[in-house]
Structure formats: structure tokens, C-alpha cells
Symmetry: C2
Subunit: 344 residues, 2 copies
Amino acid sequence: MIIDCHGHYTTAPSELETWRKQQLADRDDTSRPALKISDDQIRESLEKAQLKFQRERGTDLTVFSPRASAMAHHIGNATTSQHWSEVCNELIHRVCTLYPDNFIGVCQLPQSPGVAPANCIGELERCVKEFGFIGCNLNPDPSGGHWNSPPLTDRWWYPFYEKMVELDVPAMVHVSSSCNPNFHATGAHYINADTTAFMQFLTSDLFKDFPTLKFVIPHGGGAVPYHWGRYRGLAQDLKRPPLNELLLNNVFFDTCVYHLPGIELLLKVVPIDNILFASEMVGAVKGIDPETGHHFDDTKRYIDAIPGLSEKDRWKIFEGNSRRVYSRLHGRIFSATSSARSAD
Amino acid sequence: MIIDCHGHYTTAPSELETWRKQQLADRDDTSRPALKISDDQIRESLEKAQLKFQRERGTDLTVFSPRASAMAHHIGNATTSQHWSEVCNELIHRVCTLYPDNFIGVCQLPQSPGVAPANCIGELERCVKEFGFIGCNLNPDPSGGHWNSPPLTDRWWYPFYEKMVELDVPAMVHVSSSCNPNFHATGAHYINADTTAFMQFLTSDLFKDFPTLKFVIPHGGGAVPYHWGRYRGLAQDLKRPPLNELLLNNVFFDTCVYHLPGIELLLKVVPIDNILFASEMVGAVKGIDPETGHHFDDTKRYIDAIPGLSEKDRWKIFEGNSRRVYSRLHGRIFSATSSARSAD
């Protein structure tokens, strides 16, 4: 089977956005109004978008989370983020319940600038234990482009990591929208955050403290594979262990790189065991590449075009690595009908 | 001849650092003490470092500027930066005077957080007109990692751009050290700034206002070539012109990418006319790659290893493009003895 480890509910019915607008308009109101969206509306929002693309591109299961750019942890306070995360995660749970073969949930976290990440433990636990979610999206910069939280390797984050380890769920390092005019969200802030997180990991002993903690760095790892020699060299100059010892048991890259030469590079320099198939469709880049006639974000085509990729490596990228990193996926897939199509 | 368009005086005699420490210790003193370094000290600092590597690697001329990480525009005020820039630029001028065949100057600018970049016009003009410098390093984030200046495309920068255009000098977009614990300087801040600047250019009409303004984005363009499909797709989704029309007459990438697969990608996706040879030696990564037995930053070897690169394209990367972008270089090289070795 083909698992896409990075999809967001970017096509949610407009009632979700209306709910959010109302929440922000009524900032002093700490109640949590109900979100009214019907099952048919959910079906309609997916059938012509993510489900259509799954069918057309031949992918099976999408690891699905709330829209990343809408998390906007910088808006409001911890209660704002708590309610907004709950509503978004519950909607993802409904998607996964309606389409158990097509989607499996990953949660948004109720992060808020200046608030210790321990406040996210409850929502993570609820989503994993009650909804069967298999991971979370962790925002390394809840300020939305001002970068005033401690680095991901600071003890500030440790209580949350303890819960991740206990539940055996990975986090995708994923920022949200940018309120800093220097950073275009999907063109700069996303990619910068990926690069930044990798370098934080490289310079710390986080994975000595948490040997089983796992992160997926999306968007192909930001700038990292392109500068793989730089990172190998920096690790060496800084007297750190080689990258494979230092972090490659804990850090993984997705394949959200929207052209063949980028995917070629990724597969050439990063060990196959660290690459997870993903497209982030429907996401940052929606158009069709005039050079190929196919969607920029149809990343499966690029991987299919890599010459000499063995069946085993192909299986790792498309399925095996995701099963290993999202270890809770394993039990879930085998209980779903799609498991009959599984290759292993 | 082979022109390395990106070198910093990272090996300057320790008296320079002592001068800076004294300056910061005497913050209220607005005088500018003399920097005492002898010609022999300068020679010694270069003979065993940059000049040795030029000879060993077979490169001829380095476009040379003060150490980027030491610019630290976030420290002190505009006067601090003015004096520090003057001292650093004068030292570069001495280097270029001692070794006119090997080095040609690019200046540091006296930027300071919150101070309009127009304050840099005087030092740019002095360096170009009096010292024969051919460009400048422009810091898109003088705050050192807090990113609280207007984007490079804001009118805030326009008076400085007018002077660049008048003098016909390009700017290399180059941040300095980071005082934000989230960003490792050479592993994250540098690369993020490159990516950020490109996306600022992509979303603006800056080059309609300044058709002859030229920027070099160093470190191989940050994450941009690796995500070339993403940027082509974002431009298309945003209803911007194709990248070649939008910015490739004005934006150029250097080759400071420290492994062969990265250089292969760069040459595959970015038009040859937009690629300028550079190594940034002696710089961010000083070690020898155990996989190759050669210095990570010996980028000439990677370009030499690209199969099927025509002589013409090779000449463009190593010489022609730098002559075009740094247009003041042209007159300078022809007056130097090294011009006898020139290929054109």
C-alpha cells in the first residue's frame, strides 16, 4: 500500500473558517460553541479533492491533520488555541471515521506563545487514546515568525516529549502561518523552520535524553538535503558524531519536494530508511507544472521516475518507513479493509 | 581565469578582534581608535590560508569582504556599526592593495537595527570610489535573528538601492551572526536568510522599480534550487510571471554548496547564466570530507566533476557571470597582471 504521511484538511467546509472567525470576534467569550458541519459536507469536501487525487495518483492512505497554516498559534491565548485545536481535531476524527481506509489522524496542538508545551499533553492524549490518532504536528515557533520560544532541544519541551515517547507517537515539525512580513508562509517560513529544527537537533543531545523520540521534518527536510555536505561538515567541525549516529534514528524527511531533480537529490543523499512518502496535497502548491503537465505536488510520479530504485527501497519509502515511524499505524491498518491490499 | 565571488577575511590578525572588543567595552566613546596591523601580519594571515587554497585549488581571484559573522549589526548603534565597518573595509582595502591579483573588495555596510539603510550610502560610495570595491554585503536582518526590519522589497531600502544602481554594484544578501538561540548562524540563519530573500523577491515588483539592481544569493541560494519546483509553482499560483522573467535578470546564486549532489542539482535547475562560482573559504565548514578526502568547501572540484558541462558554460560559472554581475570587476581585472591568464 502507499501511505502519504503528510496531508492537511485544507478543503474543510467553510463553516470551519466561520467558526474560527466567530471565535476571534468573541475573544472574551471562553465558551466553546459547536461546529455544525454535516457528514455529507465532509464527504463533498474530500471526494472532489483529496480522495480524487488519492484515486488518480494511486495512493491509499493519507496521514491527515488540520490545516497547518490555519493553526495560527500566535492568535489569541492558550484557551483560544485549546478550543480551536479541539474543534479541528474532532473534525479530523470525523473524516477518519467516515473514511477509515483513506485517512488516519494526526492532531494539531493547542500551543500558545509563552505557554509551556506541557499544556498540549491533554489534547495529544485525547486524540491518540480516544480518536486513534497516530501523531501530532509540533510548531517550533508558535509566535508565527518571531521565533521567541526556546529551541526544540530546550527542556521547555521535555514534558511534552515524555508523553510522545510514552504514547509512541512521532511529531511532524510544522510551523503555521507567518505574521512576520519578512516570511512568506509556504515559501519561506515553512522551509526555514525545517532547516532550523534540523540544526537544533544537530547541535544538541536531545536524542541521548530521548532515544525513541521521533520527528518528521516535512517539505523534504527544508534546505537540509541540498546542503547535506554542509551539515556533515558542520557536525564534524563541531565535534559531533556523524549524522547517522547523531540523529538518523530519530529524524526523518518527507518527500514534499515538487520537482524531479529535488527528489533525485533527496534519495541520493539521505538514507532510504529516513525518507517517508508524502505530497501535502491539497496544499501549498496547487497548480500543474507546465513542464510536465502534472501537478507539482504529485510527488509519487517523481519517485516512480527514479531509475534503479529497488522494490525493497520503494516499499520502504511508500509504506515501510511510515509504519516504523508512525508505529501506531501498524495496528490500525491491519484492522482496516485496505490491509488486504498491503504488500507486507 | 577563475573568480571566487564569495570570500571573507575570516583569518584576519587577532588585533582586529581586540579592536572590536575594545570598541564594545567603550560603548560611550564615539572616537574611532586606529587599528594597528602590519603588512607582514596581513601577509601571514593570508599566505597560509586563502592564498594557499587559491594556489592548491587553482582559483585566481577572490571577491573579498570582511568576515560576515563578525558584522554583528545587532550590537551597539549606528555609530558602532559605522566605525566597525570602516575599520573592516579599510583592512580589506589593504589586503587588495597588497595582493591586487588575488583579491578584490566588497564592503561591509554600517547597518543598524531600526536605522534606515540610507545611512549606508556614504560607506558604499567611499569603498567603491576610493578603494575600488565592486559590491557590498547587504544584511536582510540587522537584528541578528529577530527579523524585525522591513523585507528587502520595502521602500525602506530604496534609497540605498538607488545608490547601488548608480554605482552599478551588486549586493550579496548576507546575514551575520545570530543572537536568537533558535538559529545556528551558519547552519540555519544563513540558509534561512537566503531562502527568505528569494521569496521576498518572488512576491514583489522590486525589479520593475529597479531593472538593473542585482543581488547574489549565497550558499547556493539557500533552499531555493532544491525546491525549484515549489518556487515555480508558487509563482504560478500567485499569478506572478515565470521566474526567468520575474527575477532571473537580477538574482544570482553562488556555488557554496558543499557536496557534489547539491552542485549537480544547482546546475541542473538554475540557468547557467545565474550561477557564480564561489567557495566561501575559509568559512563555515573548514574540515575535510572523509568521503572524498578533500575539503568540503573545495567547490571547484564538484563543478569540475559535472559531466557534459560545456567549455562555454564552465567559463560562465567560473568567470563570465561574475564579470557580468560585478560589472566593475571588468575594468579592474584588465588592469591587473592576472588578466594575461584570462580566457576571454
